[in-house]
Subunit: 246 residues, 3 copies
């Protein structure tokens, strides 16, 4: 099963208000442990994928405690994507800025139309995109991230692809088709296998090489111990399609 989450407040440029973040959090967590769920696709209505935080929530009238809650919730949403048992795909058709750009950078896979663009323009309004920089700095080379953060200038979809922020760029009319093709591919796989692999990938990435190989080798052995691990190999050796247990 594929879950589609749509940012649907185009009048407000899909701003990630605290309410929107909490709704996103709920949607992402919804039945996360259900073995039927195979992949999540996050897309948006309108010409702006997301413009980032709602600035009305960041004035000094709300005060630092409220601000802290906004950024804590936002960070939790971003980490939740990485910690989620199934792959999360961003489908982007338009402008993604600040925390909107962070959301794209935080997904496991990101497909965008060629008219999309990406920016972290916080410096223009006196609010450096420090939290977006966490996701951006882990997705692209640091000089690329720093130029975006220091100048606030937008990067085209092609440049974003070149530098690793996107997985795939297609013409607008093929965006849904290509995203769904990848999503259906992921949905056709064994969920326990994909979940095990996704968790191990992010964990080992932060480790030194020897520790990483120790973890990943154990993951391979565990994977072979899963019913779907053995079914997949048997099916391959018998030249037939595997039948996953779920």
């Amino acid at each position: 099963m594929l879950r589609s989450i749509v940012l649907s407040n185009p009048k407000k440029r899909n701003a990630l208000s605290l309410a929107m973040l909490k709704s996103l959090q709920k949607d992402i967590l919804h039945e996360a442990e259900s073995q039927d769920l195979k992949v999540i696709v996050i897309s948006a209505e309108g010409p702006v994928f997301s413009s980032g935080h709602d600035l009305k929530e960041l004035t000094d009238e709300q005060g630092p405690d409220y601000h802290a809650e906004v950024f804590r919730t936002c960070s939790e949403v971003m980490m939740m994507i990485q910690n989620h048992p199934v792959p999360v795909i961003a489908m982007v058709n338009g402008l993604a800025t600040a925390a909107g750009c962070q959301l794209v950078a935080s997904c496991d896979i990101a497909v965008a139309s060629d008219k999309s663009s990406f920016a972290t323009p916080g410096v223009n309004i006196g609010l450096f995109c420090s939290t977006p920089g966490v996701a951006l700095g882990r997705a692209v080379p640091r000089k690329v991230a720093l130029e975006m953060l220091f100048t606030g200038e937008a990067m085209s979809a092609q440049e974003a692809l070149l530098h690793g922020l996107l997985s795939r760029v297609v013409p607008e009319e093929r965006l849904e088709e290509e995203t769904m093709r990848i999503a259906r591919k992921v949905a056709s796989l064994s969920r326990p296998v994909v979940s095990l692999g996704k968790a191990a990938f992010y964990r080992q990435l932060a480790q030194d090489l020897r520790t990483a190989y120790h973890l990943a080798s154990q993951t391979m052995v565990d994977n072979l111990g899963l019913p779907d691990g053995q079914e997949g190999i048997k099916a391959f050796l018998q030249k037939r399609k595997p039948v996953w247990s779920h």
Copy 2:
């Protein structure tokens, strides 16, 4: 205010002798805490941006203590760029080799003319570019860095852009214009905001994701507590230009 630092010993290919490194250190540190300083641009006279260390200082006549001082000073200059409160931009028009290439890799932003090239050719003279490799290995993918380090062959500006060593490549006649456009843009921003963001970016990059988000979220809250943080958001909501406190 924009500070321009020019490597101006073209006859010696702008070699980073100990004297040159100390002069560079002094120039970079000069009034670093002045709130008027907004951005630093490092450029060079002549067809070679910098050829790296002065090899006459690395013979066995000087001995290991002198050598150690040279590399310690050089490393301090490179780290000082990263730790500096304002963005440092390299403007490169020509060849940058060894510690010269390290200097480019160490700047926050690097703009180069399309005739520029980059190399770490130390292996050719029996001195592996280990210190340049620190900066290079953090700017480009490791296989790109290793090929440069093991073969000593030069990389074109276009390849350097592709792999993240440069932020922007332009024809020679547009180099100054484009660099100054970016520098003026940075100089138009709030210095306290940019300083806070730069420091947080480099710090979080070395941390695990949860720690990084914790730091960056606190940075966002602190940023909103700055006078320029609130001024920027108010100006945006009131649809006017912000007036920074400095």
Copy 3:
């Protein structure tokens, strides 16, 4: 001296069976400490560079202890390449999948023909490429790695070059010539200098910036203390070719 290691079981698509891995391990370790050895080139017979593990060794008939030995041996081979005193070059002409792709990603330099392609298709048979992901995730941006791991789709040589998995891509008819040109270049260098530099590069890459510069600065001083370090600099200042001690 250049050592050539050829995967030569094309009928089995050069599968990395436990026997093949042990043979590879032996070949890589063979006279590793000999000062005559300067560079290793790993290539393969037939249209498939390597298809990865031998799936017949991963059925539940062998059991978890045997599986663990396979992955431990494979991880040791990959780490051995990085820890080897001389540069290891992959010369790829065809398809490299799963642990075959991991082998390419683990080499210091990788040259491929333009008809080559790279994939981590384990998910298709219920075995996520977690150990290949260790090498892949350190060679390319994480979104690139994740798309390969989650979809199992192949990446072209040009894309692999773009994203840092390869050092160089050439037409098939020039593959050997270009690889040998690079290998001969490496073989013409001072082995103690290259070994010192290679070890320091990988070690510092995992360290924080200050620790990395401390290590690399000491490496530079040690390098200058080597006979070849001083010979190289003298030769350069005297405008003659260096004569290495080995």
